[in-house]
């Protein structure tokens, strides 16, 4: 088992957002979480990555036989949890290259591996940069500094490729992307599917799932998974939206 979430209840600023969520992800699986705005999709990503302010009230999360809730944000990251942000923040003056080299070497250190030399890292970084179709000068630029929305999303995928995590959580990585950028993001993700790495793809729209084929689709509404199924469930949402959710009104953003 890669990830097991049992009866999870979590709150933000004392408001309960996740209200009894169960989910199991096996190695190599791609799970999509869909649902109306305000259902708790992004909250789930933050809870899994351990962000401060996201309080787990009850339930448990096991990640590869470890109690995830006992771990700090950076420990979870080094253990292999990666969150691709919906709105990545800028860190002025810190080059993308430097930032990612530190990240990659922190993960390597955790695994008992030698740090990559500057030359070795540069080589892999250049390849990853090309893979997400960003010009190489993005490696030298400050982290997300002055990047467009689409560039930021592609930059996130580049980091994912470099870090080689075990579980990738994509938080609305499709929002604000045109079709070409969307394909680049999807290709980047698909290139990392190796039968071992698992994905949790959080999205409002079915569109992304045309390019990233999920194994399972879950509909999240009012903090609970109300329906699970195969890729066909996403198509259903495409046709009928979320209005069919009985007893779960669509909340506004």
């Amino acid at each position: 088992m890669m990830l097991t979430i049992k009866d999870l209840q979590a709150s933000v600023e004392e408001k309960t957002i996740i209200k009894g969520l169960n989910l199991t992800i096996n190695p190599g699986e791609v799970h999509a979480i869909m649902g109306p705005n305000g259902a708790g999709k992004s909250t789930l990503g933050y809870v899994l990555s351990g962000r401060e302010g996201y309080e787990v009230e009850s339930g448990s999360i096991q990640f590869e036989n470890q109690d995830l809730l006992e771990m700090e944000v950076d420990e979870r990251a080094r253990a292999g949890i990666f969150l691709a942000f919906q709105y990545p923040v800028e860190i002025p003056g810190v080059s993308n290259m430097e930032f990612m080299k530190e990240s990659v070497n922190a993960a390597r250190k955790e695994r008992g591996e030698e740090p990559l030399s500057a030359a070795e890292f540069l080589k892999t970084a250049k390849a990853a940069c090309k893979q997400v179709n960003l010009p190489l000068d993005f490696l030298k630029r400050g982290v997300n500094e002055g990047f467009s929305g689409g560039e930021k999303k592609r930059n996130e995928i580049m980091q994912m490729i470099l870090l080689q995590p075990k579980l990738c959580i994509l938080d609305e990585s499709d929002s604000g992307l045109d079709i070409d950028a969307l394909k680049v993001v999807a290709d980047g993700v698909n290139s990392q599917r190796d039968g071992e790495r698992s994905f949790l793809v959080v999205t409002h729209y079915q569109r992304l799932l045309d390019y990233i084929q999920p194994d399972y689709v879950h509909i999240l509404a009012d903090g609970k998974i109300v329906k699970s199924g195969g890729p066909e469930l996403a198509k259903e949402v495409e046709v009928s939206g979320y209005a069919w959710l009985e007893g779960h009104e669509e909340a506004s953003a």
Partner: protein, 478 residues
């Protein structure tokens, strides 16, 4: 988040050890006889003694300035000693082999080996311990190029004409309270002379160490760059961890003649005091340079230490087309207080100045930028650009900006930009989510903020400065 950051900031000061060295230290107190004794110890000529005495008489009539944004108990100038030197230095060791090994070990522990073969290639060092210079390296090599690099006490004896001509020419001996005190009691420091047209073949550097208890350090540095010459100079400073405050009042004078260039960098890591503000160095420093035609002076400082910092490295742009630059990173944490900045005095035509100041405040500290840009009536076409950024870490610290602009020339252009930002939860979370611990995350964000200044430091020292900030923020060593 602020709790995490506080932990990340709880650092030890690694340079805080005391060296067991027997010293000759004057009894505490200050009067004319003390000055006569200092002058006699240094075997100075009569004119130097008279110069000191005149400075002392001016100082007695002056009042300690209180305009800075600093709060501290005033120093009792009669309760400190004005001279302390290791006993072993009395015999004036002629080579490194004759220097007390304990002294050499002190510098080694600080990461500054004084044996030339072990040193950073291309850097000559003058090591000043309390009131005396211990050793100056690579002198022979520098002499080949005609460069003089020696303790100022030695320069007064060997090159009296040069010293007499330039000492006090940039910072007059009664310039201000602390400068006057320094002029009266200065003990050692470095003297640099670069002849006409010479590009100094090495980086020059002075390392100041205060060791003795209740002793003030009053060093004086004088750098003269003749026409068309070029020199890059760096100073570093540390002191033991003591519960008592210690006084450091230095004067630095730079003279850049026509077409000359002086780059002066400082990495200041005096003991900052403990978390509750006990102990630490009081750092009251006057630094000023004068630029003749087409000359350039560039000040770069990284300030992480001292309980109190009062320091405004300045440029007088007297010659036409001369250039002044000031790049500063000042980090305060714990109970540290800094009031620092620069003065750019534009007198000549088409003079240019650039000020980039980065203040980082953490803990309960207070960090103020104070800068003056003055455009004289003859400074046609003069330009200044000032950028002044503050970064706050946590919610108990403070940042202040006091820019003063005085323009008497309508063709002069002054630009000022200022920003204040905080290390945000979002930035910290992004770094942590990528596997970096809080300490590393904070130091990376801070280093990014300082980048514009670090790139101005000589390469070897840019790395060192980055590390110093990291260390200051890390809590491992310091």
């Amino acid at each position: 988040m602020s709790e995490q950051i506080d932990q990340a900031l709880a650092r030890k000061y690694d340079a805080g050890f005391v060296s067991e060295i027997e010293s000759d230290t004057f009894p505490i107190g200050l009067d004319e006889s003390v000055i006569r004794r200092i002058s006699a110890m240094k075997e100075e000529p009569e004119w130097m003694l008279q110069w000191r005495l005149q400075a002392f008489r001016s100082w007695q009539k002056m009042k300690e300035p209180d305009w800075a944004h600093l709060g501290y108990e005033k120093v009792d100038y009669q309760s400190i000693s004005y001279y302390s030197a290791p006993k072993s230095m009395k015999d004036k060791p002629k080579s490194l082999d004759e220097v007390d090994p304990e002294l050499l070990r002190t510098y080694e522990k600080l990461g500054i080996p004084l044996h030339e073969q072990e040193m950073l290639a291309g850097v000559a060092v003058d090591a000043v311990f309390d009131s005396v210079s211990v050793v100056t390296t690579f002198r022979a090599k520098l002499e080949e190029a005609g460069v003089i690099f020696c303790p100022i006490s030695e320069a007064i004896q060997k090159y009296p004409e040069l010293v007499k001509k330039y000492i006090g020419s940039v910072v007059p001996r009664s310039d201000n309270f602390f400068a006057a005190l320094n002029s009266a009691v200065f003990t050692d420091g470095s003297f640099v002379y670069i002849p006409k047209g010479v590009r100094c073949p090495m980086e020059l550097s002075t390392y100041f160490r205060i060791n003795e208890l209740n002793t003030g350090q009053f060093e004086r540095t004088l750098i003269v760059a003749e026409e068309g010459s070029h020199v890059s100079y760096l100073e570093g400073c540390t002191a033991p961890q003591r519960d008592e405050n210690q006084l450091h009042a230095a004067v630095v004078e730079l003279v850049a003649l026509d077409n000359a260039e002086i780059k002066y960098s400082t990495v200041q890591n005096w003991y900052p005091g403990d978390e509750n503000g006990k102990g630490g160095i009081y750092n009251f420093v006057t630094k000023r340079g004068i630029c003749e035609t087409n000359a350039k002076i560039s000040w770069t400082q990284v300030e992480t230490g001292s309980a109190i910092t009062w320091k405004y490295p300045s440029c007088i742009l007297r010659g036409d087309n001369s250039v002044g630059e000031f790049y500063s990173v000042a980090l305060t944490r714990g109970r540290q207080q800094a009031d620092t900045g620069t003065k750019m005095i534009h007198l000549g035509k088409n003079t240019k100045s650039t000020i980039i100041s980065k203040g980082i405040s953490a803990g309960n500290s207070s960090n103020a930028y104070r800068g003056l840009v003055k455009m004289g009536p003859k400074a046609d076409g003069a330009r200044n650009f000032t950028e002044c950024d503050s970064l706050l870490i946590g919610d108990r610290c403070a940042a202040h900006t006091f820019p003063y602009i005085e323009s008497s020339n309508p063709s002069a252009i002054v630009e000022h930009e200022a920003t204040t930002s905080k290390v945000s939860d979002d930035q910290l979370f992004l770094c942590q989510q990528r596997g970096l611990d809080t300490e590393k995350a904070v130091s990376m964000i801070v280093n990014g903020f300082c980048k514009e200044v670090f790139k101005e430091l000589p390469m070897e020292f840019a790395v060192e400065a980055g590390k110093l900030l990291e260390i200051s923020l890390e809590g491992s060593v310091g």
